[in-house]
């Protein structure tokens, strides 16, 4: 294997997977040719990708930009209140239409030749009204292309493939936990973001497990905070989505032995059964509820060796002022790239990425009941639950397995 650049020996689709089901070849994390294939088979293939929540664009004209693989997206709410997801490119010469991360516009004008689109994506203006253009030219023939979209409790999913099964079936058992994370009804209010660039392959980020939490994140031990009680992981076949639930527990002293401001670990929700929830979908979308933090994670690969992660934080529309302030303060300092219980993740992802340049396989152990058969029953702290997702990945990429 070439250890200096992204690449490997031989054709990418000849990479063989071990007979042992708990092993994954490291090569797949560091080959650019595999990343190019993943774009086609996964990111542009028959999967749903969470890209936004309607609460990020609550008013007519609100928009945000994002990417699906390498395709720039323009996500907006039109004048009629409808949510749309367009290709973020002028239909004339392909110029990126909108550059801002977020904003509010009732029309999008391309600076190159001033073609202009309204909030529904309809072309509304060309210089000279199209005079001298191709025969039969009309505005109606050149709207912004739309992606196929579906929403769940305001969470917006997109797919480029018309054959992708309906979202409801794709979500499966994840739906209930996801709804719980979003306050049950998805009536959310955006309160902010943490955006960070991880120096790792997208699959390294997507492969995060709950086994590591009390081991890597020292805060749990220091606060004498043992979570995961009565925790289980529900697996959605065949995709390997994971919906994890566990009873919320808190340190007995609320962290007072370490912290001057114990509001960081305060739980003001009414039901501790809904205090700790995690959803990890294939390929990348994630959602987390820790204490009173409502967090949706919109993630996208930036090439084969980097991943952009947008933590979006929300309050619920029914929150009073005190709860709103609490969520803002807790969201800022508890998780994310400077979060008390999560800062360490990004450094480990990068070290995993570097280590993936060595030959061989990574392995899973915690929760593995057999290396020749898959099981689907996992406790909250098992890492082997990720193997279902890995098998789905292997099958759609077409990698062979040793027998």
């Amino acid at each position: 294997m070439d250890l200096s650049v992204a690449g490997g020996t031989g054709r990418w689709d000849e990479v063989r997977w071990s007979k042992a089901l708990n092993k994954v070849p490291k090569e797949i994390f560091v080959r650019e040719d595999i990343y190019r294939a993943e774009l086609q088979k996964i990111f542009y293939g028959p999967q749903w990708h969470g890209v936004a929540h309607e609460a990020e664009i609550p008013n007519p004209g609100d928009f945000k930009t994002f990417q699906l693989g390498e395709i720039p997206l323009l996500i907006n709410r039109d004048k009629g209140g409808q949510v749309n997801v367009f290709h973020n490119a002028c239909t004339h010469r392909g110029t990126q239409l909108e550059m801002a991360d977020r904003g509010n516009k009732l029309q999008f004008q391309c600076p190159y030749h001033r073609w202009t689109f309204d909030t529904t994506g309809r072309l509304t203006f060309c210089p000279a009204k199209g005079e001298g253009y191709e025969p039969g030219f009309s505005y109606d023939k050149h709207p912004l292309p739309r992606l196929r979209t579906a929403t769940f409790k305001g969470l917006i999913f997109v797919t480029l493939d018309g054959a992708t099964p309906a979202l409801e079936g794709y979500l499966g058992e994840v739906a209930g936990v996801l709804a719980g994370i979003m306050g049950g009804d998805g009536r959310l209010k955006l309160i902010g973001y943490h955006k960070t660039r991880l120096e790792c392959n997208w699959k390294t980020y997507a492969d995060v497990d709950s086994y590591h939490a009390p081991l890597l994140h020292k805060a749990f031990a220091m606060f004498n905070w043992t979570g995961g009680r009565e925790g289980v992981q529900h697996i959605v076949k065949p995709y390997g989505h994971i919906a994890s639930t566990s009873l919320l527990t808190l340190p007995e002293d609320r962290g007072a032995s370490m912290l001057k401001d114990t509001s960081l670990l305060e739980f003001r929700g009414e039901d501790p059964r809904n205090g700790s929830r995690v959803v990890k979908m294939f390929p990348m979308f994630g959602a987390v509820k820790h204490l009173d933090v409502i967090n949706l994670r919109f993630t996208n690969p930036i090439g084969w060796d980097a991943t952009e992660l947008h933590y979006a934080y929300f309050a619920h529309q029914d929150d009073d002022e005190a709860m709103l302030k609490h969520r803002i303060r807790q969201s800022s300092n508890l998780i994310g790239p400077s979060g008390c219980i999560s800062l360490e993740d990004a450094a480990v992802y990068h070290r995993q990425h570097i280590g993936s340049r060595t030959p061989g396989t990574i392995q899973f152990q915690k929760g593995v009941q057999s290396t020749s058969d898959f099981n689907y029953s996992f406790s909250q702290k098992d890492e082997a639950s990720n193997l279902i997702k890995w098998e789905y990945y292997r099958s759609i990429m077409g990698f062979g397995r040793d027998v």
């Binding site: 991360d101 977020r102 309160i191 973001y193 890597l216 020292k218 912290l259 401001d261 800022s332 400077s338």
Partner: protein, 155 residues
């Protein structure tokens, strides 16, 4: 203004040395003393969640605990160099409101890494009522909405 600059230099020197005790000492002892690290996107979008939201003296002290005790030994450390330039100041009784541009390089200690840069502006309120000027509030606003990897230390 010399005193304002001296305070700012004490602050950035503390961070460049990763000396969190000295960092904390640059803030007022008052309960409302605060440090916020956020992005221009969040400020312009009226989005209050911040990368670091230490809106009281207790949280400033907890920031030091995060770095020196809770996270110690768990992350790849990095060296920082802060470059600052005061661009505006305005007096309000015992308080000075000061804007200062910053550029911070973060260079991980170890192999296979690159130097990241964060640029932006400090919006500070300096309390000059005591024996020496101290920050009553400091808000670091990064220009880039996507920050590199992770931020262990305040900017």
């Amino acid at each position: 203004m010399v005193a304002l600059d001296e305070l700012q230099l004490r602050y950035v020197d503390a961070l460049d040395r990763r000396d969190m005790k000295s960092w904390l000492a640059s803030f007022s002892q008052k309960g409302e003393a605060s440090y916020i690290c956020t992005t221009a996107e969040s400020v312009e979008g009226n989005l209050p969640v911040s990368m670091m939201l230490d809106d009281c003296r207790a949280r400033l002290e907890d920031r030091v605990t995060f770095i020196t005790k809770i996270w110690a030994g768990t992350f790849q450390d990095y060296r920082m160099r802060h470059f600052v330039q005061r661009i505006h100041q305005e007096r309000d009784g015992d308080l000075w409101r000061v804007r200062t541009n910053f550029r911070v390089t973060c260079t991980p200690i170890g192999r296979d890494q690159r130097t990241d840069t964060v640029a932006g502006v400090y919006e500070d309120v300096v309390d000059c009522s005591g024996a020496e000027p101290l920050f009553l509030s400091k808000r670091a606003i990064a220009d880039d909405s996507v920050l590199p990897r992770y931020l262990v230390y305040p900017i």
